[in-house]
């Protein structure tokens, strides 16, 4: 394998290497110094992330089974950053006694899901796509069930694994139809051979349902809330941000590069589901008391907004989706980071328990405030820019009514985000969460998130770079 090939595939290779190194460390390392695995992983992963940004030529390997374009490399890099943040945020949680026995397993699983996502993004063939998808899901189920002593965690695990198996079965059935009508599973060939027939549309919808499950689009979203609530906070943030982001990336790639022929069909599909997703997600979020569940529904509705970027099928939409995901990663990870920090130290996860938080923990409250405002799309935070571009992309194709629905939904979402803000800043509490100082990794990760929330919007260069890359998928 030449250096050029290595560079093209460096994300997957490096991640695999990192996973193996951690595995080696687990096997051969000093059993008493298990916590040093944390440091090892963070260092390794940072290296991977940085190397990921090295410039490299786009290319196609394995006879077209593996494709790397600038856009896809960028997507991987974005995921790497997000995963790195999750890893850093996990450190303090993993350092707790009940988890110290299986730290490296956690990392191995997390990295393997990331490998799966990377392969999925670089897929040039549906087989690679499928394998990546499964690789991204199966270990994730184990991660969701990571907390062995929690009923909820186990429940989350079983719900995730069974439903994802179910959904990938349906997705596969749809793929067989695509295969049967085109005779190939290579992406670049399918798009030439596909015609707008009923069976293709049917196949597409089965495929869509499977993808929608991963992205948690209504009505395929019902697992998300339970799994997010049950899983440990860091896993939840990983699932709701990185997994979902990766699924969205590949979704965009597949829609734009494979199914342009049936664009009318998938536009209608997305229209319907986007409206449902935003609305249902928001309506459920209103009533939530558990912050994890709350953020789960919030991220469901966020997925609805992202669909607005996809629906136009235009380059601007592509760019806006990727850009929004960058924003979304920072914002949601900041929110989850705060929830995790408090949950790990105080074990409190409900909104009521956050009453008066600002009085005791102003720093965390402010981070949460920024994160929520960014998610709600309030300027000058990045979420505003992200949403604006998504809506612009949809409006460019004339979907004004959809944009209006989305905008009205942002009001509902603002309402429940403000409920949390209200709890932290306005409500008084007899027994607020006591003042505490979170450890360095948490603060570091939150710092990066805040910087991301603030800078990503103003620095137009980020959007422009994404926009420039979104020519070729």
């Amino acid at each position: 394998m030449s250096l050029a090939n290595f560079l093209v595939m460096r994300h997957e290779l490096l991640l695999t290497a990192a996973a193996l190194l951690v595995l080696m460390g687990e096997i051969f390392g000093d059993p008493l110094k298990k916590r040093s695995v944390n440091l090892l992983t963070v260092v390794l992963f940072s290296a991977v992330t940085i190397i990921g940004f090295l410039p490299s030529p786009p290319g196609s390997l394995f006879g077209g089974m593996y494709i790397a374009t600038e856009m896809r490399l960028l997507m991987k890099n974005i995921l790497n950053i997000g995963a790195l943040l999750v890893i850093i945020q996990s450190v303090s949680w993993l350092s707790k006694d009940e988890n110290s026995g299986k730290i490296s397993e956690y990392y191995i699983l997390l990295i393997s899901t990331l490998i799966g996502m990377n392969f999925m993004i670089s897929a040039g063939h549906f087989l690679m796509f499928y394998l990546g998808l499964e690789l991204a899901t199966i270990p994730a189920a184990a991660l969701a069930a990571y907390d062995r002593y929690s009923n909820k965690s186990a429940e989350a695990g079983i719900k995730l694994i069974l439903l994802s198996a179910f959904s990938s079965g349906i997705l596969l059935y749809g793929l067989t139809m695509v295969y049967g009508t085109t005779g190939t599973l290579y992406f670049d060939e399918i798009s030439d051979l596909l015609v707008n027939g009923n069976l293709q549309v049917l196949g597409f919808i089965f495929f869509f349902a499977g993808m929608a499950f991963k992205i948690s689009i209504v009505p395929f979203h019902l697992w998300a809330a339970d799994v997010y609530e049950g899983a440990p906070v860091n896993i939840t943030s990983y699932l709701s941000v990185i997994s979902k982001g990766a699924a969205l990336f590949i979704f965009v790639i597949v829609l734009f590069s494979i199914f342009p022929v049936i664009i009318e069909s998938w536009q209608k599909t997305i229209y319907v589901t986007a409206v449902l997703t935003m609305t249902i997600g928001n309506l459920f979020a209103i009533r939530q008391q558990n912050l994890k569940r709350f953020l789960a529904f919030s991220s469901i509705s966020q997925a609805g907004y992202i669909l607005l970027g996809i629906i136009g099928g235009n380059q601007l939409g592509m760019a806006s989706v990727v850009y929004y995901l960058v924003v979304y990663i920072f914002s949601n990870l900041a929110a989850f980071g705060v929830v995790a920090a408090i949950s790990n130290v105080k074990g409190k996860e409900s909104i009521e328990e956050y009453n008066g938080l600002y009085q005791t923990n102003p720093g965390l409250s402010l981070v949460m405030l920024l994160a929520l405002f960014s998610l709600a799309g309030i300027p000058p935070f990045a979420g505003f820019f992200g949403k604006f571009f998504l809506f612009t992309a949809a409006a460019q194709k004339g979907f004004y009514l959809l944009v209006l629905i989305a905008l009205l939904n942002t009001i509902i979402s603002l309402y429940y985000y403000l409920l949390v803000v209200k709890a932290m800043f306005i409500n008084k509490s007899e027994a607020p969460i006591e003042k505490f100082r979170s450890d360095f990794p948490t603060r570091f990760a939150l710092g990066i998130c805040v910087a991301g929330i603030v800078i990503t919007g103003f620095a137009s260069i980020i959007f422009e770079v994404i926009k420039d890359m979104s020519y070729g998928i």
């Binding site: 695999t16 996973a19 595995l23 687990e26 096997i27 059993p31 008493l32 298990k34 390997l61 394995f62 006879g63 077209g64 089974m65 593996y66 006694d97 009940e98 988890n99 110290s100 026995g101 299986k102 397993e105 956690y106 191995i108 699983l109 393997s112 899901t113 490998i115 799966g116 392969f119 063939h125 087989l127 690679m128 394998l131 990546g132 499964e134 690789l135 199966i138 270990p139 189920a141 184990a142 991660l143 069930a145 990571y146 062995r148 695990g157 049967g180 009508t181 005779g183 027939g197 009923n198 069976l199 049917l202």
Partner: protein, 177 residues
């Protein structure tokens, strides 16, 4: 009626009957055995379609591996003699409606479609070709998926272990890997 047709009818009837039995049987172990029958019948279909290798894989991996795994887990978690309560009529009715609606629409759509075969010559599939393709990095070569599924299997192993493993500081001596 050719032998092929007879075989097909036989296998398909077996598949359908045992599939239905698998999902309706009220004794769990019987359901597992019915599943085994379905898988074996399917392997028969694969033979009919000239995919001997895959039929073999089906028999060993599926019938031999997964079903055994399932049966073990049944033994771990259930009493053999236990009989399920019947499914609530509402649940089964709606599920059946959904499934039947889906099936009807799918079948109609399939029958509606004019499939067109490729004009290229068929390739004779033998084990060597499969092996070659599996290790090929060229077009229609599957070495990359092969590598990925190996990662997947390792990850699945680790995953299973994580779930089974007890955490906590005291358990550090029980190295499982």
């Amino acid at each position: 009626m050719t032998i092929n047709q007879v075989m097909f009818v036989l296998f398909s009837v077996m598949i359908i009957v045992f599939s239905v039995l698998t999902v309706t049987s009220r004794r769990i172990l019987r359901a597992a055995v019915y599943l085994l029958f379905v898988l074996v019948s399917t392997a028969g279909l694969y033979f009919m379609l000239n995919f001997q290798f895959l039929a073999a894989v089906q028999l060993t991996l599926y019938a031999g591996g997964i079903v055994v795994l399932i049966i073990f887990s049944i033994l771990l978690t259930s009493h053999i003699s236990q009989k399920f309560e019947p499914v609530g009529w509402k649940k089964s009715l709606f599920s059946a409606l959904a499934a039947m609606a889906g099936a009807i629409i799918t079948i109609i759509t399939i029958l509606d479609f004019k499939f067109s075969a490729t004009a290229e010559a068929a390739r004779e599939i033998d084990m060597r070709l499969i092996g070659k393709s599996l290790l090929s990095v060229e077009y229609d070569g599957y070495v990359l998926p092969f590598e990925v599924i190996s990662i997947l299997l390792i990850a699945a192993m680790v995953a299973a272990i994580v779930i089974a493993k007890k955490g906590g500081p005291k358990k550090t001596e029980t190295q499982t890997l």
